[in-house]
């Protein structure tokens, strides 16, 4: 049962990964090709719930795909991710999205 849950998590993550990749690329392309470059970059800290190192790495990994976000740094105690966001208006919303979209499934894997 646990294996099955994990399999499902992996599938979901892969799907999210591919989808996010396309979205990220398209949005970057849109920004780039716009007549004037208008970005609102920010660095934000994301608290991490997963504990295992590989899980943290996986979380960091997925956050680096989403539209214009990249994990800059993982705090030494692995409790926070620091992300660079290419174009964001609302940092809080972004954090929530990461936790909701990825961390949930990674927790599933970690379990």
């Amino acid at each position: 049962m646990k294996q099955l849950r994990r399999l499902r998590a992996i599938c979901v993550l892969t799907a999210i990964f591919l989808w996010d990749l396309v979205v990220a690329s398209v949005s970057v392309a849109r920004i780039v090709l716009a007549p004037t470059i208008r970005t609102h970059p920010a660095i934000i800290a994301v608290p991490v719930s997963v504990r295992r190192p590989w899980a943290v790495a996986l979380f960091a990994y997925f956050t680096s795909l989403t539209p214009g976000s990249t994990c800059l740094h993982v705090s030494d105690d692995r409790t926070r991710l620091y992300l660079h966001i290419l174009d964001t208006q609302d940092a809080e919303a972004s954090v929530a999205r990461f936790k909701q979209l990825y961390e949930r499934w990674i927790l599933e894997l970690e379990a």
């Binding site: 190192p53 943290v56 790495a57 990994y61 993982v74």
Partner: protein, 908 residues
């Protein structure tokens, strides 16, 4: 004669050993050798007497034109008698003279003297000019060793070097002359040269030949302006001076001149030069002889004067001159050797050489005084000594020759001076000045006084009964030199002749000189401008100038600035190409334009742009990135033109360069302030641009030429059928041209050895380096990625024979996998993962590569003939795989040697 030479040579090596065993009497025992040789020559007298020429030839190196031919004619015979006879006396004398010296030194001295005897005999017996040259040079070297015998003395060494350098200069001139004669005549025979004197003189090389011969002779015989080495050579032990620097070696120049008289006579100017040089020499030498302060140098200058007279006689035409030359040669050898012996005894006894400090020795050295008197009378030309006869001949020759009175006048003056010197060196030390020396260091002994006495007596006996020597030695010698028999009539009394008158005048003036020597001497010494005539200062100054000039030149050329060195190279190369192209006179061709493919063109231009940017980059990092851009674009270019293997390798190399060079850049400062002035940069740019243009011209012209390679066609055909591989490039690398790859593998291996010896090794770093600070994710994924790369490298290695890949790229990718580990976790971790040392990998790889060729060799085929096995359970197995595996291991090990070392150094 070979036998004689051989005996002489072997004897020279063996006999002196007696000096190790025997103390005092050693000289007498050793003298048996020259005496025996003398006897051997005397036994040939009947042959020579008849005017026959004894010839002997051995093939030595006929293809070189070198035949070991010897010839004994009258002139050689005379020299042989002198060389062996005086050698015997010298050896006996040295036996006494050297008592008190260590045995080892005595042995050395005797060896050198006897070797010298051999060399002299060889020189005068040689018929082939090349053989003569060999022995001639040997005399120079032995003279060098003898002059510098007392090598502790700086003066002796300086004198020896001077003698060597002057005579070696002459030797080279002789070499040139001999080779030119050989070129003109096609033969190195001396007889031939004499016979074809006219041909030689008339050839375009005539002038240089004669000039070279004259210089060679003048240096050897210490003629002006090369005379200065001889007085310095008196640093040699006295027996050696007596032998080399008066009796024999210095006469070789005369020998050479006499032999080649027909040749220089055939030119319009030869005689003139010889006579002029002789006269100058005589004057200078006479003057210096009067100025000389000590015994030996007075004798040395008088020797130079005598050599001048001999040269003069060779230069004069007519038979009388020849007769006089031969006669004087003999007379001089006898009395001058004797005088040197006497000087030696005095020096040995008193340790004092200064003529003004010596006096009254006749009482303590009676026999020496006696010998000295005898020899001096001969030198002064007082009848009935042999010197008188030779002087008569001299004046006769001058009167009979076609020359005007100037040489005659000079000869008179010089001879008068000789009388004076003879008187002085006899009277002052032995008879005048009271008893200055009561205590002697060494007294007379039989071996010390017998030789000079014998010589003095010989001088007297010969002149009293000249028949035998005339018949046996003089007449044949004259005949040999003059080319035909000349009636030689030697007698003390010829009646009242003009020659007698001249002799009387000479003796008269000489007597005056003896009387007023002190005044003349002091006066002349005071006149320092005469010092300059010695010319040794000039020689030394020019040598020093040469050294300084060389140093300055070298400093200018070898300035140490690497940039200018390389500029010379690149500029020189560009000039070389330009010369080559212009001189070849070919017109550049253009290849077919073909179609322009835009994308590849753009890619190539990006590469060029990267290179340009690299030259302009301020920071080294930027320069490196720009360089990388170029490498990358060229890799793409390879790929776009059907060269996937090249592309892959180039990409791998670029990546590894990044890994390795960033380690270097980690250590050094990145900012690179300008090291060149704008003007330098401009000139560098011009040179680089010209070089590039030259290359474009060549490459474009090449590409326009016909195409088609038989090798390519063969490889395309045989790669699969013969090499069992689809990837032709790889089959070339591991099979067709595997030997290149083998060599290249060795190159990489040696680079690894260098890296390992220059860079820090594991365990040398005191503490474990801290974990590198990298992104957490990098460390999380690093290991798995590294294993991925390693696996990929094995796949690349395995598939290489049929698809792009192979040992090289495989090894590079494997190295990258370790690079990844070291970047993520530090170099310690990467090294631990490898377990074996990089050099061990390299060694194993080398062994694999080398061994893969052996089965073929064992199977009786050439090395690196690959064997294949196609079992049912596996596609194919071949020794190429072992080969490629070896390459893989070497590349991996080598890159890791660099990687680990550089990273350790960088993080230190």
């Amino acid at each position: 004669m070979f036998v004689i030479l051989l005996i002489s040579l072997i004897g020279a090596c063996v006999m002196p050993l007696a000096a190790r065993v025997i103390g005092r009497g050693a000289g007498l025992v050793i003298a048996l050798l020259p005496i025996g040789l003398l006897a051997a020559f005397v036994s040939m007298a009947p042959v020579v007497e008849r005017g026959w020429v004894l010839g002997e030839g051995r093939n030595w190196a006929p293809r070189i034109g070198l035949d070991l031919t010897l010839r004994l004619d009258g002139f050689s015979f005379l020299f042989c008698l002198l060389v062996t006879g005086i050698c015997a006396l010298v050896v006996i004398y040295a036996g006494g003279y050297l008592t008190g010296k260590p045995r080892q030194e005595r042995t050395r001295f005797f060896t050198l003297i006897l070797l010298f005897q051999t060399a002299m005999l060889g020189t005068v017996l040689a018929e082939s000019l090349l053989v003569m040259l060999l022995f001639w040079e040997a005399t120079s070297i032995l003279s060098f060793l003898l002059v510098g015998f007392d090598s502790r003395s700086a003066r002796a060494r300086r004198a020896a070097l001077m003698a060597l350098q002057v005579t070696a200069f002459g030797g080279l001139m002789l070499l040139a002359a001999v080779l030119m004669i050989g070129h003109v005549l096609g033969s190195y025979s001396m007889a031939e040269a004499v016979r074809q004197a006219e041909t030689i003189a008339a050839s375009p090389l005539g002038t240089p030949i004669v000039a070279c011969i004259l210089i060679a002779a003048f240096t050897k015989s210490a003629q002006f302006p090369f005379h200065f080495w001889l007085p310095n050579a008196m640093q040699a032990p006295t027996p050696a001076s007596a032998y080399l620097h008066s009796a024999t070696m210095v006469k070789l120049g005369i020998y050479l001149l006499a032999r080649f008289e027909p040749v220089f006579a055939a030119t319009g100017w030869g005689r003139g030069v010889v006579v002029t040089v002789a006269c100058l020499t005589m004057l200078v030498a006479a003057l210096q002889a009067l100025r000389a302060e000590n015994f030996k140098s007075a004798l040395a200058y008088s020797t130079i004067a005598s050599l001048g007279i001999l040269t003069l006689l060779v230069g004069l035409d007519g038979p009388a001159a020849t007769v006089a030359m031969v006669g004087f040669l003999l007379a001089h050898a006898l009395y001058k050797a004797a005088l040197f012996f006497c000087a030696g005894v005095v020096l040995h006894a008193t340790g004092q050489q200064n003529l003004r400090a010596l006096g009254g020795l006749a009482r303590v050295l009676p026999f020496t005084a006696l010998a000295c008197v005898g020899a001096s009378l001969s030198m002064a030309g007082i009848p009935p000594f042999i010197g008188f006869i030779s002087k008569e001949f001299l004046f006769e020759a001058q009167i009979e020759s076609s020359w005007e009175t100037a040489p005659l006048a000079i000869a008179v003056i010089v001879n008068a001076a000789m009388v004076g010197v003879a008187g002085v060196v006899t009277l002052r030390p032995f008879f005048l000045g009271g008893a200055k020396h009561r205590e002697l260091r060494n007294g007379e002994s039989l071996s010390l006084v017998a030789p000079p006495l014998l010589l003095a007596v010989a001088g007297l006996l010969i002149s009293l009964d000249p028949d035998w020597i005339t018949r046996v030695a003089l007449r044949p010698a004259v005949a040999a030199v003059y080319g035909r028999a000349v009636d030689v009539d030697i007698a003390v009394w010829h009646g009242l002749t003009p020659m007698l008158m001249l002799s009387a005048v000479v003796i008269g003036i000489g007597a005056l000189i003896v009387r007023y020597w002190r005044q003349i001497h002091i006066r002349l010494r005071g006149a320092e401008r005469f010092d300059r005539l010695a010319l040794e200062k000039l020689w030394e100054r020019s040598l020093r100038g040469l050294m300084h000039g060389s140093r300055a030149l070298t400093g200018w050329v070898q300035h140490g600035d690497l940039r200018r060195y390389l500029l010379v190279v690149v500029g020189g190369m560009a000039a070389l190409i330009a010369w080559s192209v212009i001189a070849a006179g070919a017109v550049p061709r253009l290849p077919d334009a073909g179609t322009l493919r835009l994308a590849p063109a753009l890619v190539a231009l990006v590469g060029l742009g990267g290179a340009v940017a690299a030259t302009r980059a301020q920071s080294l990092f930027t320069a490196m990135i720009a360089t990388g851009l170029t490498g990358f674009s060229i890799a793409l270019t390879f790929m776009l033109n059907g060269a996937p293997d090249l592309a892959l390798t180039q990409f791998a190399v670029e990546a590894l360069l990044v890994v390795l060079l960033t380690a270097l850049l980690m250590a050094v400062p990145l900012a690179s302030p300008a090291t060149r002035t704008p003007a330098m940069r401009r000139s560098d740019a011009v040179v680089a641009g010209v070089m590039a243009l030259m290359l474009v011209a060549g490459i474009v012209d090449m590409a326009a030429g016909p195409q088609g390679s038989a090798a390519s066609a063969f490889y395309s055909e045989m790669s699969y059928l013969g090499g069992k591989g689809h990837n032709v490039v790889n089959v070339i690398l591991v099979d067709f041209r595997a030997f290149d790859t083998l060599g290249e593998t060795m190159v990489i291996a040696m680079a690894a050895v260098l890296a390992r010896s220059l860079l820090m090794r594991r365990g040398r770093a005191a503490q474990e380096a801290a974990q590198p600070s990298v992104h957490f994710s990098f460390q999380a994924f690093g290991r798995v990625l590294s294993w991925t790369l390693l696996a990929a490298s094995l796949v690349i290695l395995w598939r290489g024979h049929d698809q792009p890949g192979g040992g090289f790229v495989g090894g590079l990718v494997a190295a990258l996998s370790f690079a990844l580990l070291s970047l993520a976790y530090g170099v310690e971790r990467a090294e631990r993962t490898l377990r074996a040392g990089p050099l061990t990998l390299v060694g194993i790889g080398m062994a694999c590569t080398l061994a893969s060729g052996l089965p073929g060799l064992i199977a009786g085929r050439p090395y690196l003939t690959h064997l294949w096995w196609e079992p049912v359970w596996f596609p194919k197995l071949g020794t190429t795989m072992i080969f490629d595996l070896g390459v893989y291991l070497v590349v991996l090990g080598a890159v890791l040697a660099f990687l680990f070392g550089l990273q350790r150094e960088a993080t230190k």
